[in-house]
């Protein structure tokens, strides 16, 4: 089976510091991969490099076999490569529903001229409502994003990402900041989305949930990949334990 995402030799330097050093990994269609590692390991930088928000010094990124590392972010997104931010970035001036409708209309806004002459948003609204329902926040639809609790916004962002009809969804710490029950619910939802056919790569510190829902683990430390494979095997890997216990006890405990 060909990989849906094949990343090879990603190197990112900020100033003189190596944020990522020659990282490679693959994702096969339908997989649920979680990426873990201590703070500052380079996880966020890696998915930002994959989506093109960060420019790597060198990288080869293939989406379903197609080289995409020279495409701008919005074009990668149109090919089905979608990410959510670690720190929530909703459109504050819009309602919860509008945020999702906008993403659902990604086909309408592809061309400037097309966007200028299309007005109807009933189809997008229906789709957006369905997604909000799937994420369990349909009742917040018409509320302004401002003042919503983090749990709602995180869910909204997942709905928004799904509205883009991704082939591959990159989630950056979707569970961070949520309480125990909220986190479990959202993790279940994500697993459900995966079962419906969306390939998922998730950065997450919440090891409990990660181990519960994901099929594979990729571990980064200091900008390098130190482990990749079955969750239970990976967790027994001494290098992984060292990285966690040595540097980031609090997070590992969480």
């Amino acid at each position: 089976m060909t990989a849906i995402l094949k990343v090879s030799g990603v190197t990112v330097r900020f100033g003189g510091i190596h944020a990522l050093d020659d990282v490679s990994f693959e994702v096969t269609p339908g997989e649920f991969v979680s990426m873990i590692g201590p703070n500052g390991a380079g996880k966020t930088t890696l998915i930002r490099a994959i989506t093109g928000v960060v420019q790597p010094q060198s990288a080869e990124i293939r989406l379903s076999g197609r080289e995409i590392s020279n495409l701008p972010t919005h074009k990668r997104s149109r090919l089905g490569l979608v990410m959510t931010h670690q720190i929530v970035r909703p459109f504050h001036s819009m309602s919860v529903l509008e945020n999702v409708i906008f993403a659902a209309g990604h086909g309408r806004i592809q061309s400037v001229f097309g966007a200028m002459v299309s007005f109807d948003l009933s189809r997008e609204r229906d789709r957006a409502m369905k997604l909000l329902g799937l994420l369990g926040i349909a009742e917040m639809a018409d509320k302004s994003v401002r003042g919503q609790p983090l749990g709602v916004i995180k869910r909204m962002e997942v709905a928004r990402a799904l509205a883009l009809e991704p082939k591959l969804l990159l989630l950056d710490e979707p569970l961070a900041g949520l309480n125990h029950i909220e986190a479990a619910r959202l993790a279940d939802t994500v697993a459900d989305i995966n079962r419906r056919g969306t390939t998922i790569v998730m950065i997450e510190h919440n090891l409990g949930e990660v181990l519960r829902v994901s099929e594979r683990l990729v571990v980064l430390d200091n900008g390098r990949k130190i482990a990749d494979g079955n969750p239970n095997e990976v967790m027994r890997n001494p290098a992984v334990r060292a990285a966690y216990v040595g540097k980031d006890e609090t997070d590992a405990a969480a």
Partner: protein
């Protein structure tokens, strides 16, 4: 209507087109421009030169509009490179650069400007009605854009362009179209001003004009078409209202700008919205 009222109405309508143009860039798309007067000037100079060469208004105005819009795209390219406050000051620089260069071009009349511009071939009232139609079209066009998916995309760019990009939006294309449309409207306004005044000098299109237009947009309520139109009417007519306190006129103007921003930062539109508890949502389900 006497000739005084007609001339006031004409200048108000011209300013409405000008301000709606900036509202497209700053209000809809969130790109602050402090150099809008430069495009007003480009339209005015283009129209003036062609009119003196004997072309009819339909041609001259269209050329002014296109030239201003094209220049707007070039400046829009700058908005792809610099953001927010840097962009504000860059556009301000564009305004000063335009003025500094025009002043030294003898072909454009230099400091003496261009005078004896032929009339548009209409009576004063006829011209006012002509501008009225164009202003109505500009307003309708603004509302049309605001309601379209393009307006939705502008909202997204204005709100958070990085997120918009991640959601698959070609932010650059939208910014450039906002600049193109907004500056083209400024160019049209400039051409109309040329036929109204039939005499133009570089100082008509200086920094103060840019600031005045931005004030109209901000006082009206950034992004609100009706708010901006109302503010344009009020701010353009203010000197006339306050003729009786001639000496304090500019003081009142400054104080008003300050007061509105200080106590009603959303401008007239925001003030009314709060007062009337209107919230318009695109996704209203009810």
């Amino acid at each position: 209507m006497g000739i005084y009222e007609v001339s006031l109405a004409t200048i108000v309508l011209i300013n409405i087109i000008l301000a709606l143009g900036l509202n497209m860039i700053t209000g809809f798309c969130g790109q602050i421009s402090l150099g809008h007067a430069a495009f007003y000037g480009i339209g005015a100079y283009c129209t003036a030169i062609l009119a003196k060469a004997g072309f009819p208004p339909a041609v001259t105005l269209l050329c002014g509009l296109i030239l201003a819009g094209a220049s707007g795209v070039v400046v829009g390219l700058a908005s792809l490179r610099v953001r927010e406050d840097f962009l504000a000051i860059t556009t301000m620089g564009v305004g000063f650069l335009f003025l500094g260069i025009v002043r030294q071009q003898e072909a454009l009349g230099g400091e003496l400007g261009i005078s004896s511009i032929p009339s548009a071939g209409m009576s004063k009232i006829g011209f006012m009605l002509f501008v009225l139609v164009l202003a109505a079209l500009a307003a309708a066009f603004s509302l049309f854009i605001k309601r379209s998916w393009m307006g939705f995309a502008f909202d997204a760019v204005a709100d958070d362009e990085d997120t918009a990009r991640v959601l698959g939006l070609d932010v650059a294309a939208y910014k450039l179209s906002a600049f193109a449309m907004g500056t083209a409207m400024a160019g049209l306004a400039g051409g109309l001003y040329t036929y109204f005044a039939r005499f133009i000098v570089p100082d008509d299109f200086g920094f103060i004009t840019s600031i005045t237009v931005l004030s109209m947009v901000a006082v009206g309520g950034i992004g609100s078409v009706f708010g901006v139109m109302a503010a344009t009417v009020v701010l353009t007519l203010m000197p006339e209202f306050f003729r009786f306190i001639s000496d304090y006129k500019l003081l009142v103007y400054g104080a008003l700008l300050f007061t509105v921003m200080r106590f009603a930062p959303g401008g007239l539109a925001g003030f009314l919205q709060t007062a009337l508890r209107i919230r318009k949502a695109r996704g209203e389900t009810g």
